[in-house]
Amino acid sequence: MKKQPLLEVRDLKTRFSTETGLVTAVDGVCFQIYSGETVGLVGESGCGKSVTSLSILRLFGKHSGTRLEGKILFEERDLLTVPLDEIQTIRGNKISMIFQDPMTSLNPVYTVGDQIAESIVLHQKLDRKQALAKAVTMLELVGIPSPESRIHDYPHQLSGGMRQRVMIAMGLACQPKLLIADEPTTALDVTIQAQILELMQKLQCELNMGIILITHDLGVVAEVCDRVLVMYLGQIVEECPVEVLFDNPLHPYTCGLIRSIPSMATNRREELHVIAGMVPSLYHVPAGCHFAPRCPYADAQCGNPPELVTIDAEHKVRCWHPGARASGERRLA
């Protein structure tokens, strides 16, 4: 299905200037997103998944010392080089973003209706009354009961689940082509999370939009995503369809990650698998393969940095010994 990708990221590098010099949070990330597809961006905290998503829309604030390199192609334009006012026409209109903590992501002093109508007025040039009417339909679309009255509510009057629905309504108000969701359900309870995930899947089919879902919960990935990118210390270490990820993970870090999570499938009697050591800080990133110091199969070759190699049609891995298995290690059921 070699159709035109919705978004293509080529060799994205994001660096922050801190007191002790330049820190590379995202180190050469490449991937494509196709419309109608949900791609999971998975990794532990500090691996750069959120920074990658923020780099797409250049949401680093006016005075932060961040430097972006590489290319992000969207509708034949490179988002990293287009002038600021042009990217502002894309933000919330063609690409929109929702965030993790519903409690603090809505402005407490404006009603929910105003905040949704704001982007409609901005991007679709409707007047305030028409925009509010459209906001009501959006609230209905995301499943909020009695939307006509909810329009006039303030964020502090709504529960966490409701606020996340408002965030989604705000994001989809202008029918964007791509939705970036940064850990949308992490702060929610498991039953509310199920509702929100189901809602996102329903809306994706209706609007045929691409979704980048950033999460650290592999269960959520299995439920919702079609393809998965596993990130470690600023680099993509494995990319594959979601079934392949759980059937035949190749990168040692991905295997370790999957087997160290207690889940319905793991046996309660056994000890959980543990990835040795700790995630190193961004100030002293190991040379060569970033995972080498913690990898049980590391050898001399891992001293020089591996490339993201394509194993088969849709499976890429950044490792000199992909699929390495210690003898007797069984694969996940």
Binding site: V190, H216, L218, G219, E223, S263, M264, A265, E271, M278
Partner: protein, 327 residues
């Protein structure tokens, strides 16, 4: 499974109402915990799960008497903790410890890690003062930290290491019963498995009994022997872990288990998605508090509060419809 030892901790009809506001005229209360009864045998890990606001953390703190309950009894080794006076209370306090969720705010940033652990020994005068430092080294080693960590400050540790220090501080006084209040929720996946394995090792080595409070069901399933499911201050269902996951009887438990994202894409199964939000504990629904969201609610559910009764060996449920629907 733990042998039939006498229950170490017994909780009878525990109730806790919090006043909504400080002034006296406002009598509205938040019904945080409503007549919870449970018992934990020695060496057992009792998992307490439920969504946020269901009162599981409050229950944990009530058992340790960190907050005074409105009514009910907590018996530790047969003695009612709520009636104990200072000296006896101090002894019981030494046997019951707590481990908290957020490793970043569980340690005083201005005090060295070693002296924080030694401080617990100072408070309970464990052993002669001069060899408390040696004991601290021993405890540090038990939780997987080195000697030279003694003089470091908390900001020099990662989340996982800090949680080990918090554990060391709780174990420094040789407790029998430890309440773990969401000990791994704030940790990353890789450090999470390290701490869970450590908790299980310490339980075996030091014969500890855990009350493990968490909202992540997969973690609770892995570590607990028995699990209690709470909703809006009520204990809905209680059973051995395997029975609960094999045959959940209460509709809320079924919805809760079906909502857990299963890390295997081929594992598609019927999803019970609850509608609406958790009602506010300020004015909970009458009768069974779950009836407003329960797919099988009937008239009786609205009128009378279901009592937690035994439906199968070691399997209690608080639901009117259970007996004729599931068995």
């Amino acid at each position: 499974m733990a042998t039939q030892a006498a229950p170490l901790v017994e909780v009878e009809q525990l109730v806790k109402y919090f006043p909504v506001s400080k002034n006296y005229f406002d009598l509205r209360v938040v019904k945080a915990v409503n007549r919870i009864s449970l018992s934990i045998r020695e060496g057992e890990t009792y998992g307490l799960v439920g969504e946020s606001g269901c009162g599981k953390s409050t229950t944990g703190r009530l058992i340790l008497r960190l907050i005074e309950p409105t009514a009910g009894e907590v018996r530790f080794q047969g003695k009612n903790v709520l009636k104990l006076a200072n000296e006896e209370l101090r002894k019981v306090r030494q046997d019951m410890q707590i481990v908290f969720q957020d490793p970043f705010s569980a340690l005083n940033p201005r005090i060295r890690v070693g002296s924080a652990i030694k401080e617990t020994m100072d408070i309970f005068e464990i052993g002669p003062p001069n060899d408390r430092k040696a004991r601290t080294y021993d405890i540090l080693d038990k939780v997987g930290l080195q000697k030279d960590h003694y003089d470091r400050y908390p900001h020099e540790f990662s989340g996982g290491q800090r949680q080990r220090v918090v554990l060391a501080r709780a174990l420094a006084v040789g407790p029998k019963f430890v309440v773990c209040d969401e000990p791994v929720s704030a940790l990353d996946v890789s450090t999470q498995s390290q701490i869970i394995n450590l908790l299980e090792k310490l339980q075996r080595d030091l014969k500890l009994t855990y009350l493990f409070i968490a909202h992540n069901l997969s973690v609770v399933r892995h570590i607990s022997d028995r699990i209690g499911v709470m909703y809006l201050g009520h204990l809905m269902e209680e059973a051995a872990t395997d029975n609960l996951f094999a045959r959940p009887l209460h509709p809320y438990t079924q919805a809760l288990l079906s909502a857990i994202p299963h890390p295997n894409p081929r594992h598609k199964r019927k999803r019970v998605v609850l509608s609406g939000d958790v009602p506010s504990p300020l004015n909970p629904p009458t009768g069974c508090v779950f009836h407003t969201r329960c797919p099988i609610a009937v008239g009786a559910c609205r009128d009378t509060v279901p009592v937690l009764h035994q439906v199968a060996p070691g399997h209690n449920v608080a639901c009117h419809k259970v007996h004729e629907w599931n068995i």
